[in-house]
Amino acid sequence: MKILVCITHVPDTTSRIAFVEDNTKFDKTNVQYIIGPYDDYAISKAVDLKTNHNAEVTVLNVGLLDSDPTLRRALAIGADKAIRINTEPKDSFYVATQIAEIINKYRYDLILMGRESIDFNGGVVHAMVGELVNIAAFSPVMEMDINGNNVKISREIEGGKEFIETKLPIIAGCQEPIAEWKIPNMRGIMTARTKPFEVVEPIEADVRVKTEKFSLPPQKGNIKLIDPEQVDELVELLINEAKVI
């Protein structure tokens, strides 16, 4: 089975978010970059599938040179080869078009990615890729059971899960608890250095949504602390001041 895992290269979840150059660029100073946490589920699921399904796992990122350590980490976790499409991920459609090109070229039985990136939170690349390559896409997928060509998945919907049965190939946007996160071991880190690593140039594609500037949410005013013996006071504030109950 051939598996493609698409990963993002994003600031760590605890990063301080700030912008520079008149709020037009993200401030990378002292920011640690990681594999997106949802993408971590995707790569972990793919590596699990190597054991029982004799899978070959390719990991893909649309990004510039600074993504390489993130791709190497995915190789260290257990992916067999890496592809980087050498361009900035400009918007969802642009990224989806690049991924679709790779799928059309190499063909995969299963395409996994995170449910969304934790920087731009678009959450639509899997569905766009699905439409571009005519493969059904599902997200967010919480469980996946593959038996031959048959796939059973559960997908999170509002208020619960939906159970789906279908056939490979599929595209899945992953989230917990699809697999346990894997941490690279020393052997993985050593072998990652020699695994195939291909850098390809992007194809031309529209950028349909253009970023103009960034902003931070307004600072919260000072908190009002209420005496634990005066709980009525909180209820009065919620009714009369906040007007939310």
Binding site: I157, I223, V244, I245
Partner: protein, 321 residues
Amino acid sequence: MAVLVLIERDEDKIKKTSFEAVSYGAEIAKKKNELVFCIVLGSIEKDKLKALGKFGCQKVIHVKDTQLDQPEIRSYANIVVKLVKEYDPEYIITAQSSIADPIAAILAVKTGSSLVTNVTSLPEVNSGCRLERGIYSGKAFETVELNAGKKIISIKKNASGISEYDFDPEIINSDLKPDTDAIELKITGNDKAKGDVLLSEAEIVVSGGRGLKGPENWGMVEELADVLHAAKGCSKPVSDANWRPHREHVGQTGIKVSPNLYIAIGISGAIQHLAGVSSSKYIVVINNDPDAPFFKAADYGIVGDAFKIVPKLIESIKKYK
């Protein structure tokens, strides 16, 4: 060049988040002097369709085919694409959901349009179309310009609020049928909690964390949620420990909520949890640790023992209601 709003049903009801999408569409339509069309798929009573007029809808396109009673992404998208080609709207509005976003994505690819999700503001439409969306899991906003084709906008809860109108929408019955190609796919069921207020739709969310010590102590959280008609949430450690189901996990890797009021009980406020709640209008924190980081993000706080405070809070709310 109308404004088209994709409505979502939950069984025989229209989802509350869709009402907000209609009002959002109506605001754009007012500025552009256009009509608001709503698309409703599958069986539903006529008075529920007429009720969309209260939120700003002028025409309802109802596609009745019973194959559409069960929501399924590809068959829904198939119909929506056909209707968009027929009515040629400039704007298409949806309320963010597990089905609306993938439909919007398919529509964007099929029609060469611009799609933005996670939208938190009304657009500026005087020249071009510019709007704000949430990024970095609620820690920042991005102003974007939509450049190509139609503008497809998927809004987050509380992006604009609901406005009142008194339109009597015309109902246009459509006989379209989904004709998706031969992808074998069967939705075999779901485990949706019946009767619960959905996190994605709730005006108020009551969440519990590790400070509650164990699943046996959730009775008071449930009672508080009941008296407030609120949805129940929890922190990641709580769902990881299986004290509560994953569908209640609020946070960066769980469900992101934007209610009017978020009440956090015994949750310290790790940055990943805050990312899931930071767009709430008001936050109340109840915690016995005065140094809990959550207090910094809160509007109101009580430092003290949740096991004493929450029952008092329940009594107090009952008294005022």
